[in-house]
Point group: D2
Chain length 342, copies 4
């Protein structure tokens, strides 16, 4: 039995609490929040759970094995480092930290203390993304030509993070998980239409060593909600529409092909191929539950999570690079190649 | 009665021929093409029309008032200049020329000789684009925050032009017509996945003096066809889906608004507003016919076309700037501000 | 403060409990169910609420003002009559009873005792249906030509009721509420594809005195879920797609019109008219909450609910007539005209 | 080389002319129409083709092998019988005749004279319908539970035929071709909302000996266009959406299954099964061309068309039965079982 404490019972904390409370092999042990009203809600909903306005009470409780952090991003590093130093395993919401330097320090601290460091990039634990990885890694898609994502809606404007850290963060983690490469360069453009707020709209291109190109169009200012990813390969192509109630993933047996026919080469070098479309049935377990079970398993058997601190760090680096490029109106930002993707 | 000759009876030429043949006040006088098989088709379809493999025959025919050019882009300048020098009015397919220098020369020649120079940016003559201009210029949309276009499909790979000159060209002309501003900077990324072919996928961002940001996602390598533009304003937002059989334009009474309530400001500076949606009925006359009538009117009454050579030149400049930025992996390319948009 | 007891904590009971628990002016007083495991869940979720396996405990509790019944349909009459005889106001799930005779008796008993009798035809309390009534009753639609509903999905096969009582019941109540007429005749066809189960697919046509025709296509055996109603009027037409996340209601300025032009009459008597489409913003309060507040208001101020026992009775009569016609392979079943619709 | 003459150059005649003119092995020999203006159009478009206002000129021309009739339905019998008696092979538009008696006489005359009698039920020659037959007849769908079609739009009101003969006629022919059974009974309801016009909206149910049930919802009075068929089988289910530009046919590995588990039987006898969805690539040759080639092949090699006079007759019988039932407000009309479906 793993006992977990949660720091932060705001927007996402209640989901973590519900998930940990229901998970077999896991006990929701305590919740810290500075808002007494929220603690009152916790006490009514989870009578036996420790509530406190001082997160140190969770860290000093030796019965607690792990800490989950769902506070504003600006506090992730402080709370996470304190939890690790108190010997706790760590679950931290995305993005992992504000800066890549902070992320590196958390990774190092977790390694030094042999603690599990889990970053909650939830999409990695969805049936859709796992099915896409199966298709891509199994070779069915062929060479990956491009990844093209649109995440727009009339969204909640965030106070402390830009639309890149709020929405493009999903593409950065999904790309890391799917294509197993790390980009060499980033070009991003975007803007904040309202003075004093973070960027509410951004367009980010990632360039990969193999020639794959990835693009994310993210916005909080669209009249309709779109959550769609197109992935084109040399053999097949995928559409992933997360708002489809069923058939979220469609695999098209479509593509282009070169011809050796000299006559055709004169006219056009590239021919077309279209075939069947196929929508595989997806596993429908809630991603948060899959992630929770995986975290518990990692803690109990000293495994490395699929969304470990290193993946979290790589994602933070891409947020930094994109933000920097965006400030320079698309200026190319090159990225160090010292790391392997997942 | 205006007599028109067409140079080039390949992909688009037959549409021009049909359009001019049916247009009141216009006579299809002659067609030049180097392929005898195509001329044979013309002779069967339009018995009375002059056919020739030498375009000079059209230029030297003094009964011909205007020349329409629908040949590969690389020949637009040569044929166009010859036509103007022969005293003909000129209709030229988009993009106007390969280089902005060529475009400038055509504009100057047409001005010097007082000839009409019409660039066939067809979308400008659709009911959808004209309705959007009416909404935007009438002030209903408020300040234009962004323009976001997606034009992707498993497309015909072009030999001589990139996907920017083939697809993004539409966004450049529509933007010019809609928002009446000229961008100050461009950042574009893209790639050709097949050696020896032009770029088949590109992402272009345009930055405008007023703060408007525009983006076009264009690709010949997508499993599905998308032709969608989102335009967000301070008062309303538009979706233009060109593949919708009806209701191509939807106007959303949605947006964000600032609050003066100090309590709300603490939490979030921006609030939301949602209201009715409205899909105006659009004029359904074929764009090519509207353009053709406008051209005839301009020739007869010495008017300047809505899609004149200056607009054509501005579009070519944006293709050049985008292509240059794309080669630099998104490198910002600044644009001279010596011109007014339409 | 109105105190409510619930009989039946199965599929729908938990929703009633949550709704009454949250409703201002209402107290969830007790819950009866024969399954001890369900009562255990209730006790954990609502510590102060009376739980009992004998519904008489709720009826004899004089502090309880009203009883809500969410048990299988076959028991509605027994429990409902007992509640009314105990002097309680009554909320009963749809369909009101198994037979119209039972429904009549409940209506009479409620009238005799001056108790509120509320039948939970939830759709009547949705923003979409209320907006459609506003449009129709306000005259914007003109004369109602037809109502055409499709409710299909791979559904939960019911043990005790057919697809007519499960799905078409919604159309019967919506029609009653919208068009304010009662049908004169019914023709229905349908079948049960699996021996020993109730009909799982049915097609029902209702004929109205004014000439309006209504049709419902209901099935538990469709590969996709559809919840769509088309309503055609002489001035406008409506599409109501309940699965649309936004824009559930679209109003089309489309229709047909007669011509007086003798030439046109020779060819065709009917012309077409198409105009704008408009999607009004809908009130988004949960229907169950709107219904709950309305019920509380009726109890406190001795009002008649919009979905009263008479509407419930009319709906049960239509279920009976449809079922009878279906057994006769579409045989016309005529309906008494002794009643007014809402 | 087969020489064909066409009687009737109104709405559909030009399509037949174009098709026969382009078909290898076929010559468009002559066109008869009473309107001189239409014949003038023919002469310009097809210079070498015989034009006449008297259809007898085509019948007496011994060089003409076959006659295609695309006149109003009320004249099909007269022209068709005359053509057969003149020894011509016959192509007749759908529906074959106004009455089943007329249809029988044409079938008998064609048999007596050993002439090909082809009824142009075009949908039978589409890639979509042929693929569905392949799936159903190959056993992949299992037992066919139901066929459910919606064909609605703001349509051209017909002068001489009802919406049943105009739209449901497609379902009657498709059903005949797909499921190879002939219905035992029909129940139909519908109405004409405009005095003096044929029924503009109808709902038709067909009952088959095997237990299959079929339904068609047809209307000229809907604000949107729908062309959708759902077919449910014991193993798989199909959606055929004819307005989808690609993926017209989707095959769902979904269904219900009985359980032997006594516990489950207590609760519900039927369980669910969901799996992959699959959209097969369809042959995209124009149906009219496929039909034309098939007709030419039947004429040359004395074969029986897939859409022969017997199929045409069965369809006319269903139109008659539906119309009769509709007049009786859904009254069941039983059908003779002397015939086999295709």
């Amino acid at each position: 039995m793993i006992r977990i404490g949660i720091i932060g019972y705001g927007y996402w904390g209640p989901n973590l609490a519900r998930n940990f409370a229901e998970l077999p092999g896991v006990t929701l042990a305590g919740i810290a929040d500075t808002d007494p009203a929220k603690l009152e809600i916790v006490r009514r909903r989870y009578p036996g759970v420790l509530t406190t306005s001082d997160f140190h009470d969770l860290l000093s409780d030796t019965s607690i094995d792990a800490i989950a952090i769902s506070t504003p991003v600006s506090t992730h590093f402080e709370f996470g480092m304190a939890a690790l130093k108190a010997g706790k395993h760590l679950w931290v919401e995305k993005p992992m930290t504000e800066t890549s330097l902070q992320a590196k320090k958390l990774v190092e601290e977790a390694e030094r203390r042999k603690r599990v460091l889990f970053v909650d990039h939830t999409f990695i634990y969805t049936g859709a993304v796992r099915k896409m990885r199966e298709i891509i890694r199994g070779g069915d898609l062929g060479r990956v030509y491009y990844y093209d994502s649109t995440r727009v809606n009339l969204g909640l404007f965030q106070r402390d993070v830009s639309v890149i850290a709020d929405l493009a963060v999903h593409d950065f983690s999904i790309l890391d998980y799917l294509i197993g490469e790390y980009p060499t360069a980033v070009s991003a453009s975007g803007t904040n239409h309202f003075p004093g707020t973070p960027a509410n709209l951004a367009y980010i291109t990632l360039f990969y060593p193999s020639g794959t190109i990835a693009h994310a169009n993210v916005s909080w200012l669209a009249p309709v909600k779109v959550r769609q990813i197109l992935i084109g390969g040399s053999k097949k192509m995928i559409i992933y529409d997360d708002l489809e109630p069923s058939e979220k993933i469609k695999v098209y047996d479509k593509g282009v092909s070169f011809t050796d026919d000299p006559k055709q080469i004169l006219e056009m070098r590239v021919g077309y191929r279209t075939g069947d479309m196929w929508a595989p049935k997806l596993i429908e377990i809630e991603a948060l539950r899959v992630g929770g079970e995986h975290f518990a398993d990692c803690v109990q058997h000293s495994k490395t999570p699929e969304t470990d601190g290193k993946l979290g760090l790589r994602v933070v680096e891409l947020i930094e690079a994109s933000t920097s490029s965006m400030r320079g109106k698309g200026e190319t930002v090159y990225i160090q190649q010292h790391r392997k993707a997942s």
